[in-house]
């Protein structure tokens, strides 16, 4: 009987449990999780703050999930050390748990820069339920919030807080928000929509330090910007990014780069130890290299692949790439792959812009292969393009059609179309 141990009970851990149980119903599975209820959907914490979701409908898997899969869950427990020779995980109460196969799915943690005032009450991050609960408990006494960082998390939390009638100022150091996933045009359209819904957006500068309240310097009273402007606020949300939680394997023979390095089977360099999700550097099918891709769907998929391989069923991870679907203030956007080349030589670009309908589409091509695209406002056929990008399909035959109204499965090259309608 195999002893499976999984550190982390979120998307990656859950994917692994499901895969293991498809192949091995007898082995024991232990999940070590710092969370009280591990199986909630982290992307939904903004819905929790905006009161569009309750704790109950945030559950990614139902309450019976662990029991149904015969998993022993150690809640509220932190894994402290892995002993590679005795094959044991030491947890915070000193107990040691034996493993035959181990998955490290510890995820990421918010990056908080060293900044004066960052320790004050009222400064939060936004990646897990506890941070959302902390924000929730402060929303009642707050009128103004500063969100530092105009990426996915920053915009999510801004939307949630505006829906709670907080005055939100979103601060982005670069010239445009969402600049890692959108191009300038798409970003500007999104900025307009977000600003029209009440978020004040400041770009090109950031917060230099956080200052305290006059009557209580331990609490947030405002921020000083890099140009010395002072903005009063009671809440500061730091949403600059996430970094892999590799501390468990720091200074060990387990190979890390920025994250834990894994192969296409989600194996680390140490036998019987696997990693997936935000803590891992896994395969990107677009650049044909490993990289950090802290995205929920990829954590789940990587977890599944790890789970299968832990049982001995050899399954290759097909990989992921930068892929985002957004819905801020009901503006649908799908953005995949490479969007902003430094110079256009070697690239071809197809563009459609209908500002009056809030529609923008752009496809970036290299050697007649799609390397990135943005669909904004109209996204129904985005998945068809995603498949062409992922499979590196030569689109020279249909290039003129890609952005036309008629584009669809019917306009794909015959061979591509045919393989789609065999039972898959």
């Amino acid at each position: 009987m195999t002893k499976y141990v999984i550190i982390g009970g979120s998307a990656g851990g859950i994917g692994a449990v499901e895969a293991i149980r498809e192949e091995d119903t007898k082995g024991t599975i232990t999940v070590i999780s710092e969370e009280k209820v591990p199986q909630y959907s982290r992307p939904m914490i903004s819905e929790y703050v905006s009161k569009e979701a309750t704790l109950d409908n945030m559950k990614y898997r139902d309450d019976q999930f662990w029991k149904k899969n015969n998993v022993k869950v150690l809640n509220g427990i932190t894994a402290k050390k892995i002993d590679f020779t005795t094959k044991q995980v030491e947890i915070d109460n000193g107990d040691k748990i034996d493993y035959d196969k181990l998955l490290i799915a510890t995820g990421g943690k918010p990056f908080v820069p060293r900044m004066e005032g960052v320790e004050k009450k009222g400064v939060f991050t936004f990646t897990e339920l506890s941070s959302a609960e902390d924000i929730e408990s402060s929303v009642g006494q707050s009128k103004n919030a500063i969100v530092i960082g105009g990426g996915l998390i920053g915009v999510s939390v801004s939307e949630a807080l505006v829906k709670r009638e907080i005055n939100v100022t979103l601060v982005e150091l670069k010239d445009n928000i969402l600049n890692l996933i959108l191009d300038k045009t798409a970003s500007e359209i999104a900025e307009n929509v977000i600003a029209n819904n009440g978020v004040t957006i400041i770009t090109g500068k950031t917060v230099q330090r956080i200052i305290g309240r006059k009557d209580d310097p331990t609490k947030v009273g405002g921020v000083i910007m890099t140009d010395n402007e002072e903005i009063p606020c009671e809440l500061v949300i730091v949403a600059i990014g996430v970094i892999p939680r590799t501390e468990l394997v720091k200074d060990t023979p387990l190979k890390t780069n920025r994250g834990i390095v894994v192969d296409r089977f989600m194996r680390t360099n140490i036998p019987d130890i696997f990693a997936c999700g935000d803590v891992a550097e896994a395969y990107d099918f677009l650049i044909d290299k490993n990289r950090l891709l802290p995205l929920w769907p990829l954590a789940y998929l990587g977890g599944r692949v790890a789970g299968f391989n832990m049982t001995g069923k050899k399954i290759e991870y097909e990989g992921g790439t930068i892929m985002s679907s957004l819905k801020y203030f009901d503006l649908p956007i799908v953005a995949v792959g490479y969007i902003n080349p430094q110079n256009m030589s070697g690239y071809d670009e197809l563009v459609e812009l209908k500002p009056e309908k809030t529609i923008y589409k752009k496809i970036l091509l290299k050697n007649n292969v799609i390397v990135g695209f943005i669909f904004l406002g109209e996204i129904e056929k985005a998945g068809i393009l995603f498949r062409l990008l992922k499979n590196h399909v030569d689109i020279s035959e249909i290039k003129d059609n890609l952005l036309s109204e008629d584009f669809g499965i019917v306009t794909l090259p015959q061979n591509v179309r045919q393989e789609m309608f065999v039972v898959n």
Partner: protein, 147 residues
């Protein structure tokens, strides 16, 4: 597993599958009310695509390998182990569009409210899905395929 397949050569692109799908998924099941009076407007989960002289009618294929289920952020999209059907829990869906991004058929789309997705549910109230039952040229077949 039940699914709807298409005989490309028999499809004449008439679009009736879209019409009947829309009506089937309306509250009133009445064509006039469905198209003109209901809000949110019922949407067709079928899409007719035309590239003359070819046309095809596209909907969820209830794939064996389910990118939409794997990508779902909330656990709303699931594949039923017994029936093989890919189903979608409206209560759990937050309209994040991750499934839309990864569906190779473009067969999952935002519904008219823009808050959740709509996709083929194989017409749970019918023996034969509405699109298949009403295809005038028998281009659509509801078949049992191996999972």
């Amino acid at each position: 597993m039940k699914r709807v397949s298409i005989k490309e050569e028999a499809c004449i692109g008439c679009g009736l599958c879209q019409v009947y799908c829309t009506i089937e998924h309306s509250k009133s099941k009445d064509p006039i009310k469905a198209y003109l009076k209901e809000y949110p407007k019922p949407v067709s989960r079928v899409r007719i695509e035309t590239n003359k002289p070819n046309s095809i009618s596209i909907r969820c294929q209830h794939c064996k390998d389910t990118p939409c289920v794997a990508a779902c952020l909330t656990g709303a999209m699931t594949k039923d182990k017994e029936t093989g059907q890919v189903t979608h829990d409206k209560e759990k869906c937050i309209g994040c569009w991750t499934c839309v991004m990864v569906c190779p058929y473009g067969a999952v789309k935002p519904d008219s409210s823009g808050k959740i997705i709509a996709k083929c549910d194989l017409c749970p109230d019918r023996e034969i899905p509405a699109c298949v039952a009403n295809c005038p040229n028998e281009a659509l077949i509801c078949e049992e395929v191996e999972q």
